[in-house]
């Protein structure tokens, strides 16, 4: 290595990080701005966080988003884990290619199409069987589950593929019935992947604006929807404060998910 290269690498790295994170950093910095004008710095203050606490519309939307995110993550983990188990452990069965394709499709499908398709389905179902009556939290949750279960399935699948299938056979050989094997052996072993999947599904749901806009109804505005509509009326530093809170939440969610997966992997490698 010559002396020039580290400084070149360093400046490239700095540029790359600046490109990615400068906007977010400026958003966080301006959330502590004294001035009402978002672009003029007038000293440090936390008053926008205080006024955020008294903004019932924003807090209400945050509560709706949080409940949808928790329900979505839980349902997506159950369905995603089942789909992954079927794909990895059941060998070749009729319809396996179709299932693999359909589970993965939402990963590459544009949100606009997913949102529109879900909306059309819900309207048609309401006309045919009367459910879901109107659109709101239920329809948003269902729409979110359809795409976040794909992410969970991918995570759980990659975990199951690397797991020695003879672990489950050994449990069965020692007298455990198939359901017992699943709960006593398989589930504890894929638990880190399930936790990571849950957090990812939670974050995806909390972030989503496009799909939620299509399938939501009156009285069920999610946080991203409220933020987006209020930005159109003029940016308030309250939004900066809220965005900062969201960035912290989402980043820590992803960091914990990554750490859980990494820790288990590192332990496995240490053992081998």
């Amino acid at each position: 290595m010559n002396g020039k290269r580290p400084s070149l690498v360093f400046s490239l790295l700095a540029f790359g990080y600046a490109f990615l994170y400068a906007p977010i950093v400026s958003l966080i910095v301006y959330s502590f701005n004294e001035s009402r004008l978002v672009t003029v710095w007038a000293g440090f203050s936390t008053k926008w966080y205080v006024s955020l606490l008294h903004n019932d519309q924003l807090l209400g939307a945050a509560w709706v988003s949080l409940r949808i995110a928790v329900m979505n993550a839980t349902l997506a983990v159950v369905l995603g884990a089942l789909a992954a188990t079927a794909l990895v452990r059941f060998g070749r069965f009729r319809g396996r290619p179709a299932l693999a394709l359909m589970v993965g499709a939402p990963l590459v499908m544009p949100d606009v199409i997913l949102g529109l398709a879900s909306l059309l389905l819900f309207v048609a179902m309401e006309q045919l069987i009367g459910w879901p009556a109107g659109r709101g939290m239920t329809t948003i949750t269902i729409a979110h589950v359809t795409f976040s279960l794909a992410y969970v399935a991918v995570i759980v699948q990659s975990r199951l593929v690397r797991q020695d299938p003879s672990l489950e056979e050994a449990a069965m050989d020692l007298g455990a019935r198939p359901w017992k094997v699943f709960f006593v052996i398989t589930l504890p072993l894929i638990a880190p992947a399930l936790a990571a999947g849950w957090l990812l599904a939670f974050t995806l749901s909390l972030d989503d604006l496009v799909i939620a806009s299509f399938v939501s109804g009156p009285g069920a505005s999610t946080l991203p929807m409220v933020v987006y509509s209020s930005v159109r009326l003029g940016i308030s530093p309250e939004i900066n404060a809220l965005a900062t809170v969201l960035v912290v939440l989402v980043t820590s969610g992803i960091a914990i998910a990554g750490w859980l997966l990494h820790r288990r992997e590192a332990r496995r490698q240490l053992a081998e």
Partner: protein
């Protein structure tokens, strides 16, 4: 022991009932036959080995016995009970896996006690029996460790303890020693045989290592392409192979293709072109003159020297290759007919110069009784 009748082994006793009876079992995957029409009887207390190269169907046969695969045809009986349709968790059989398959999230004690917990035994009884088992495999002080805190040899012993704790009628071992290094493997071979004798459980072991099968088994089956080619004791398999595949698979062998000439008693004269001469070989049954015969002799039965050695068969040739292996040296001698004959000399004297060197003219010879004929 003089005067007493020779002890009859279980498989020689017509009155003995087999513990495991495999009757005409076949299994294929994607129309590829893994096991074809295998029949086998294994008797209580045996240490039985299934020996073959990878892909010969030995592991499939083991998995059929454990219940992880269902046969396409045939029946499996264990202790007289037809278990063909039973799932693994209802069979009186346990298995030790090649990867050991220890549950990584459970302690050593919980791994070993897993089978007993499935039977719903009281915790106290489980603790006592787990402690006994761990003492037997000399891991008493490791009960609270996790599998990833153990060495390869320790994990192997945990796997053995876990598969023995339910006192199965039959223990299946899938390459139990393959993951151990050479030194540990030799030591473990004896330990495994000792444990088997102590617990009195019938073992069926799958292995690709012929030496392992020879040292450990009471009997073994040599498999190839899904079929059993020979069943017998290690001595029978080595000294009296039933066909060319078995003769070539176990140990080294010199083979000469030829035609039967004449038979006097149990000594057959065979003309083998590659040997360049007539060979005499011991054959128990009558052979029709003119039929094709393969004469085979193991390298350690071949005598080698500058002077013609005593024996029924003598050939002269040129030393082409010498390999020094420490305990023995292997010589390859090219004879007039074109065959390359392998002979083994034990190195009795330390540091002695080899009696022959490359290019030397020398003689090889062996008795008719020490060779065998394969008539196929």
């Amino acid at each position: 022991m003089t005067g007493s009748a020779p002890r009859l082994e279980a498989w020689q006793d017509p009155a003995a009932a087999p513990l495991v009876a495999i009757k005409g079992v076949s299994k294929s995957f994607d129309r590829q036959a893994a096991v074809s029409d295998v029949s086998l009887a294994i008797y209580p207390g045996e240490f039985f080995s299934l020996l073959g190269a990878s892909g010969c169907g030995k592991t499939t046969l083991l998995r059929l016995l454990a219940g992880f695969e269902r046969p396409d045809q045939g029946r499996l009986l264990i202790a007289g009970q037809d278990v063909t349709e039973l799932p693994p968790y209802q069979r009186p059989v346990n298995m030790m896996f090649q990867s050991y398959a220890l549950f990584p999230h459970l302690s050593v004690a919980d791994n070993v006690g897993f089978g007993l917990r499935q039977e719903g035994l009281p915790r106290r009884d489980i603790r006592v029996r787990v402690a006994e088992m761990l003492d037997m495999v000399k891991l008493g002080s490791f009960a609270q460790r996790k599998p990833d805190q153990l060495s390869g040899g320790q994990r192997q012993r945990v796997a053995l303890a876990r598969s023995l704790i339910k006192h199965p009628k039959l223990l299946l071992l899938d390459e139990p020693l393959a993951a151990l290094d050479r030194k540990l493997r030799e030591h473990t071979q004896f330990e495994l045989v000792n444990i088997q004798e102590r617990v009195g459980i019938t073992f069926i072991m799958v292995t690709h290592d012929q030496e392992e099968a020879m040292t450990m088994s009471t009997r073994m089956a040599v498999m190839n392409e899904g079929r059993i080619r020979q069943i017998g004791t290690p001595v029978e398999i080595y000294e009296f192979p039933a066909n060319r595949f078995v003769a070539g698979f176990i140990g080294a062998v010199n083979q000469f293709e030829g035609r039967a000439l004449a038979q006097a008693g149990d000594v057959l004269q065979v003309y083998a072109e590659s040997a360049g001469t007539e060979l005499r070989v011991h054959v128990p049954q009558a052979v029709v003159a003119g039929s094709p015969v393969v004469v085979a002799v193991r390298p350690e039965k071949v005598r080698l020297g500058r002077e013609p050695p005593p024996g029924d068969n003598r050939l002269q040739g040129t030393v082409e290759e010498i390999a020094y292996l420490g305990d023995v040296s292997v010589y390859h001698l090219r004879v007039a007919g074109g065959a390359l004959i392998e002979a083994q000399l034990t190195n009795h004297t330390r540091g002695a110069a080899p009696p022959l060197t490359w290019g030397d003219r020398a003689w090889v010879g062996w008795n008719a009784d020490d060779a065998f004929a394969l008539v196929e």
